[in-house]
Symmetry: C2
Amino acid sequence: MGQLAGAELFTVVPEGSITTPKGFTAGGLHSGLKKSTRHDLGAIICSVPAAAAGVYTLNAFQAAPIKVTKQSIASSGLLRAVVVNSGNANACTGEQGEQDAFQMRNHFAEVFAVPEEQVAVASTGVIGELLKMDKLIGGIDQLPTHLGDDRNAAEQFCQAILTTDLVQKMICVQVEIDGRAVHIAGAAKGSGMIAPNMATMLGFVTTDAKIEGTVLETLLRQVTDLSFNMITVDGDTSTNDMLVAMASGLAENTSLTEAHPDLAKFVAGLRHVCEHLAKGIARDGEGATKLVEVQVQGAVSDEAAQAIAKTIVGSSLVKSAMFGADANWGRIIAAIGRAGQPVQVDTVDIALGSIQTLQQSKPVVFDEEAALEYLKGDTIIIHVDLHMADGAAKAWGCDLTYDYVRINAAYRT
Amino acid sequence: MGQLAGAELFTVVPEGSITTPKGFTAGGLHSGLKKSTRHDLGAIICSVPAAAAGVYTLNAFQAAPIKVTKQSIASSGLLRAVVVNSGNANACTGEQGEQDAFQMRNHFAEVFAVPEEQVAVASTGVIGELLKMDKLIGGIDQLPTHLGDDRNAAEQFCQAILTTDLVQKMICVQVEIDGRAVHIAGAAKGSGMIAPNMATMLGFVTTDAKIEGTVLETLLRQVTDLSFNMITVDGDTSTNDMLVAMASGLAENTSLTEAHPDLAKFVAGLRHVCEHLAKGIARDGEGATKLVEVQVQGAVSDEAAQAIAKTIVGSSLVKSAMFGADANWGRIIAAIGRAGQPVQVDTVDIALGSIQTLQQSKPVVFDEEAALEYLKGDTIIIHVDLHMADGAAKAWGCDLTYDYVRINAAYRT
């Protein structure tokens, strides 16, 4: 899987949403888990058993919903629905938390008359507090009248999964497989505790492609490594991260396998969906005023490039400089140097957008005014060329701002 | 080397300084490298060739003064002096930067009539700009009239090595070796770009102990791993970090070796000096309002405990919560879980000071008012017990504040 998604292989569907792929409905509502009146409970439902795959947090303390969802997907590889709450992560809540997550799943299955092991659950919010089960159960009971297959219904779902996110993140692309229109869509939430290796991030992919769950899982992992695992907001990794994909198969293509001639189109579409959501999470990081993209090339391997790109985009000093629109490339080279990867000390180029600041490791006199103007923009691209070999990678993050501190100094209260 | 320095093995010298050990003079002045009128050039000089040792940054882009100092110490293991400037790091300055660092060393050697290979140089400040050599040379010419062997002279040196530090960091302890009083003292600067594995940190240790340079280096490395390498301000590691120790031998003890019966006293004293300076750097981190100490015990090994302690103290979310005086232990357990070390998910205790918040991985109902009161203090201790084995470690850091962002959004300009 090269560094460039094949843009010609798919088209973005204007106004497309997670309910655009055939078979999916979605919705969201306020159940009372959040103190405010914001939505806090949502679901995506498939009219048929969908081939399913999941990718999960690597944090050793995995929250209860992670265990339940893993068990559901493992049991048959199929999902009829995913139900999600925000406002409470149901993490570090012990046996009671696990019972609550199972009850969340089972009550939903009862209400919607689907097999309980075909329901995934996800939670996001505060760690260490028990779910208010009365609110949750009451909310699930109301969900059937809050579902729809239009964009509005999908947006209600997106609202329901937000915590400190400011904007919804959703996209739908179309690819042609066996001459048929296949849709791949996704929705995500992010915001804080976002780091490489699955962030505090919930992601949901719907598609009407016909594909085996095992193939879907392999592709999902590959694409995650180049998208969600290449973003960082603050270097923290949550206990609740989960990316779940459901494939209804209603596009009726011949089943996608490694050998399918149109597989590359599906992968390109899936990658675009995940990359779009990942960049959306980075741009909407807690307190962020801009998206920072780091492009590393010329490294000894893609893995080395990835490590370097992540180190730069995760550096508090680089992030602060981006907030201040300060072309402080010294902090960028310091980050390159501590990434633990092979570098040549005298062949490094650094540019901010089109403004070269370091060439062959020597400072370039550049137009500070032009740099200031560029860095004041809402998207900054940092280019690094190590001139060693062909390893390349992209990573995304955001600036470090007063608002990040404000939000996180007072989240729980 | 256990986790507890033997407090009974040394005494802190009130009003002691880096000029308290016999043979040392020091001083500092404003040469014009900084735009302000603050000191920016300092030196420590020994009246005899001192056994010397250095520990350096692991950043791949090591600044020019690092190369020069390494060469000096390697040539004979002896130093007569170290000369330091602030305001400019002389890093990423290519061949010219290296020539400048050598000229800084050699001009100093000429002025003070000492062998050039017995002079160490250190620089701290902005990366990527050439040193103003006329200012530097002029400053070195004035240094001889700015030296002294009293505390005031030592403080002038401390002033000269500061960048965004707010307070000087200096200490002196006394140990008894062969029945003789031996002094060990240190001065340091830190502030930003401070991370495990030697921070943007300059540290200078003086002692009148008689000790071989190679023994001194071994001890310095061991002690650094438990002090300077256990602090983090922002996870960044600079290009210029350097810790240099000079031992005049004028206390006239029998030379310290691994077999010397009083070696433990010297190690305890050296460790206290380094730990005191490291904590001082953490407390004085950019924008910090408090010192955060993390004590981990019950880990599978000291190394595992170190990794976990560093991950907690480096977490932006934990740091923000400490700034906000929010007893958000969920972020602490999330940090433990992503440290990449063995943990048992159901045996973790967490306490903030004496306030237990998690016991056997279960939330404890605690007095929020008391927790708020404790977290408003200027020193926070986070206790973690994993209940697995005997591995233990301490790490130090600070809170993440609006001022960190303010300082680093506008440093270069």
